[in-house]
């Protein structure tokens, strides 16, 4: 799949889902964590994702 294909799928999806810019970033970041965890056993993806979500939500940090 070409980069253009991937880019098109992602932008169409983000638009359809209604992600904000920050949500897009968090979503991609979460997927990157899962991706890294495939090579690194020490990464616990659910815990890492929960952490970045909590770091980026809440008061003065709405996504």
């Amino acid at each position: 799949m070409s980069l253009a294909d991937k880019s098109e799928i992602l932008s169409r999806t983000f638009h359809e889902v209604g992600f904000s810019a920050k949500e897009c970033k968090l979503f991609l970041e979460a997927l990157s964590i899962i991706k890294k965890a495939q090579k690194d056993d020490s990464i616990n993806p659910p815990a890492e994702i929960m952490k970045i979500l909590l770091d980026n939500t809440g008061e003065n940090n709405e996504i």
Binding site: M1, F19, I34, P45, P46, M50, L53
Partner: protein, 703 residues
Amino acid sequence: MKFRRIKFNNFRCFKNEELIFNESSDKNINLILGPNGAGKTELLFAFRWILSNNVDFTKLLGKEKTPYSLNSSLYNDLKNGLSAKASCSVELELESTQDDSENRVMILKKTDIYTSNPPNTPTKDTELELSYLNDDGSKSLPEKDPVKINEKINSIIPSSILYGIAFDGERMQQLSSPQDTSKRAIEGLIANITSVEFLTKCKNCFESVQMDNEEQYKKIAKSTKNKTLETITNDLKKAEDKKKELGNKQTELKEKYENNTLELTTLSNFLKEKEETQVYQKEKELFTKELKTWKNSLIDLTAGYATALSKAYLRAGIPLYDRALSSINKMAVPRGLTTEAVKNIIKSGKCICGKEIDSSVLSTLEDLLSKVPPTNLNSTIEQMAGDLKTSAETNRKSSWNSSKQITTAESEIKEKENRIAFLTSQIGSIDQEKIKEANERFSILTKEQGKLEADKESYSETLENLEHTIEVLEKQRETAATHNGQLQQLQEVRDFLKKSFYALDLISDSSKERALQILNVKLKEAFSELSSDVALGRRIALIQGKGIHEQYQIISYLQSKFDSELARIQNNQKYFTLSDKEKEERAIINVAEGNSTGQSKMNTLAFVKAILDYANSQKDDNFLGQAKCFPLLIDAPFGDIFEDNLIQSAKKLHEFSDQIILFLAQDSYDSVKKYIGSYVNTTYELHKKPNEPYSIIIKKDDK
């Protein structure tokens, strides 16, 4: 990923053998030559055995007489009770092409087989070890946890990929069959080389995050009865507003109650007066009755008085007068005659004149003497007059009393008449209509007061409950205020995850659809490159079935048949609702052809080339396509393929992957050597040792 080395120890037909794989950019084929029965398939199965558990050696009993990975000779020794234990192992070294510090991995799989009772049913004990190899050749401490090892192996070369890179002739034939196992194999393969498998992992991971988030949310929400601060604040405001409203209503009710009480008092007084009137009425009736009695009494008294008067005169005068007059007249009694003289006359029987007196006169005289005082008649008359006087006096007194009573009665009558007149005037002054109205109003007000009393009680109770609710809500608000930030944050995470699940589904669907399009293009390209049948109108397509499983299937068909079937479908109203793509897919399914062995192999070769092209084309390593370079292990791919198809397939084989491990019989190799030979880097020859259950592997310098 590339295989670097494989080493056997008593594995099937290999006693102690080792193969090292090398390739360069222009020589990427590792050739393993051997006649039938020398162990080519056993060698291929060794890769599958160490990389997945899904190997059934009983299917290879026709090649080696052992149902295990263990060498058949050792197995027979065990079975025959000649030994108690035997071991076999395979050591595989592979190199990950990913940018990974731990890119060289060595996997050791070892099986110990023990005799048991009975000895023909041995038990086995399998161990796995995984070590990382350093540049200097040293090894890390081995990982022995089978779960972790399998996870690692799966991350390097998933079992689904083995279906696409490790082929013996039989599997090549099966892959393009319409069997469910083949469809599932293709499904797994495509899921792996596209992003679908990764996206499924992402979904599972997001589900774990969601569970964690929900758990935290519930824990916090439990302390505020699952209410947010906003909800609690709203509830509290509502409760306070209601309390205020009830308070106002209660005040209104109180005022109304007081007004009613006042009106009731007024009415009560008014009606009390009405009760007095009734007393007046009764009194008037009594007086009227008494008046009547008195009047009757007056009539009786007046009549009595008149009677008494007349009786007095009659009693005293008339009888006496009548008797005296009769006696005098009858007897010519001289006046002044005393009683003594009368007595003497009666005694002598002769009048004072001497004349005889008859007996009747004498009897009258005797009677007279008995009734008058003995002195003389005058005194008798005086006596009688006295009696009359006394009687008259008595009657006069009686008459006087009667007269007095009459006066009293008249006075009473007068008094009663006056009282009756007063009472009549009092009764007449009260308006009966007003009394009726007052009574009705009194009744209404009394009922209303009852209701107001009940309402007052109800309001008090409700207010009490409200006060309690407010108290609870205030406490909840206090707690919620503390947790609100956390809840809000967790809610944001929840919303984000919800969107993320949707996004993953969309990406997965879009990726699958796009991947299928690309794979179909690559499949057609590969088929055109490999098969001369394209010129004859033969085509190939990868179709994704509809329904729950959505399994993929490789279908070959003839263009001409497809064209007419597509035209038929397009003109058939039954298919109007289908999209053009769906119509094409249906037409392909309808004209699918059964495959010969050679055709199946061609289909599989085209498919394998397509998926390896697809996987190897992922240059960037992100979540929508991993940079996956897989080797190809293929046993006797050219059997049953002839002429141009054979030539084209052989010519293109080196383009399939950066590393190809090709298993061929010598004669088969000879037929394609001029197309393949220049791409062969390393050649190994397998030789079956005569009269021994072992094969040996000899490296041949093909250069």
